[in-house]
Subunit: 226 residues, 2 copies
């Protein structure tokens, strides 16, 4: 039987795509990466993700799966070696819970801080800091979210490592320092030191240009009212 | 060994809580239901869901799990009888995909329609109708989302059955009719006819009062600008 064909539709800069790359790498799954231009979506993307028209999309044996957490679960269930979810149902629930927290609470709060000005920016900082404290509390005394083994929640929240340093550089301030967030800082180091992770982040300079442009465009559109 | 203790913290009217009740019922799991007042959150809720302070929360053997989809996965992994997710990884991915679609795309579009006026209302109707068409397409020729067996996606989207009829009554219009949405209409019937489902919806009159009040409060706050 021929090797199952795996394709990943993504963009070079998306943190949601990056987590799929990490999972496939951990599993040792070979795949073709297809770079999408979201300003000019390909017929392939529209065919494989007609509902959301977004990346990432995983195509396996001609069947497509969208939504990054749905894809992560699929990968873990399809390629059993190096499981990214623990066995115990409660531990699995915690991995899913923290992943959702990252996308639904922490990420929006960081983004709001990044694109806000004046009073709104101060409010956004309070909210982002509260979420950082929650993560700090959760990671206390642990190497990874589930203990000693890198897994689902680490992959899901791994975007913090490079995104926060980008935001920090652009905003010229330190968000996550070792004094206030020792456990979170240690986790960031543990994660990026993990074999195969450090070299997988998108090029820093290109990301800086992208995020600077995004931020300026946002300020220009909202005229600083948000 | 004593029976494992299961508690569900919820509110009588929440569709997110209702899906947990349905899953526990399908599994035949006995539990204590603890009604929460979200205007005056109990110490128990704050203890068991300190991050989001929301319902539903499932407490099993003293350990708490929040977020309705995380809870559904936990229930399916903990009580194996009557699985709500299929075995096949791709089918599981589809069940998760449609559940997410319901909460992240369809529900917000319906809600926006419900609380909008004037031009915004027309825009919201277009968006809600597009989502209804997507669901209609997905359900074509199928009894339930996964085929013949009621499962994860049906439980996740089951709120449509009573919520849409409430919105229809309050707005005095028909959103889901058999002519335009025959498959979706048939699914709604199949779902509510399923043993144990029909009698589980919250009391219609009480829900009507709640939703009418919510809508009027919203209009009063936004003065019809949204």
């Amino acid at each position: 039987m021929a090797e199952a064909e795996v394709k990943l539709l993504g963009t070079w800069s998306s943190p949601f795509v990056l987590r799929i790359k990490w999972a496939l790498k951990l599993k040792g799954v070979e795949y073709d990466f297809i770079e999408e231009d979201l300003q000019n979506k390909s017929p392939l993307l529209l065919k494989y993700n007609p509902v959301h028209k977004k990346v990432p999309v995983l195509v396996h044996d001609g069947k497509s799966i969208a939504e990054s957490y749905v894809i992560l679960e699929y990968i873990d269930e399809t390629w059993k070696e190096n499981p990214i979810l623990p066995e115990d149902p409660y531990q699995r629930a915690m991995a899913r819970f923290w992943s959702k927290f990252g996308d639904e609470k922490f990420l929006p709060s960081m983004w709001k801080f990044f694109i806000s000005q004046g009073e709104k920016r101060e409010e956004a900082l309070v909210s982002a800091s509260e979420n950082l404290k929650i993560l700090e509390g959760e990671l206390k005394g642990k190497k990874f979210f589930n203990g000693e083994t890198l897994g689902f929640a680490d992959i899901s929240l791994g975007w913090i490592v490079d995104t926060v340093s980008l935001l920090e550089e652009i905003m010229e301030l330190k968000m996550i320092d070792e004094q206030r967030y020792p456990s979170l800082s240690a986790w960031m180091k543990n994660f990026s030191d993990f074999p195969g992770i450090k070299d997988s982040f998108p090029p820093q300079e290109r990301m800086l240009t992208k995020y600077r442009t995004l931020r300026e465009a946002y300020f220009a559109t909202t005229r600083g009212t948000n």
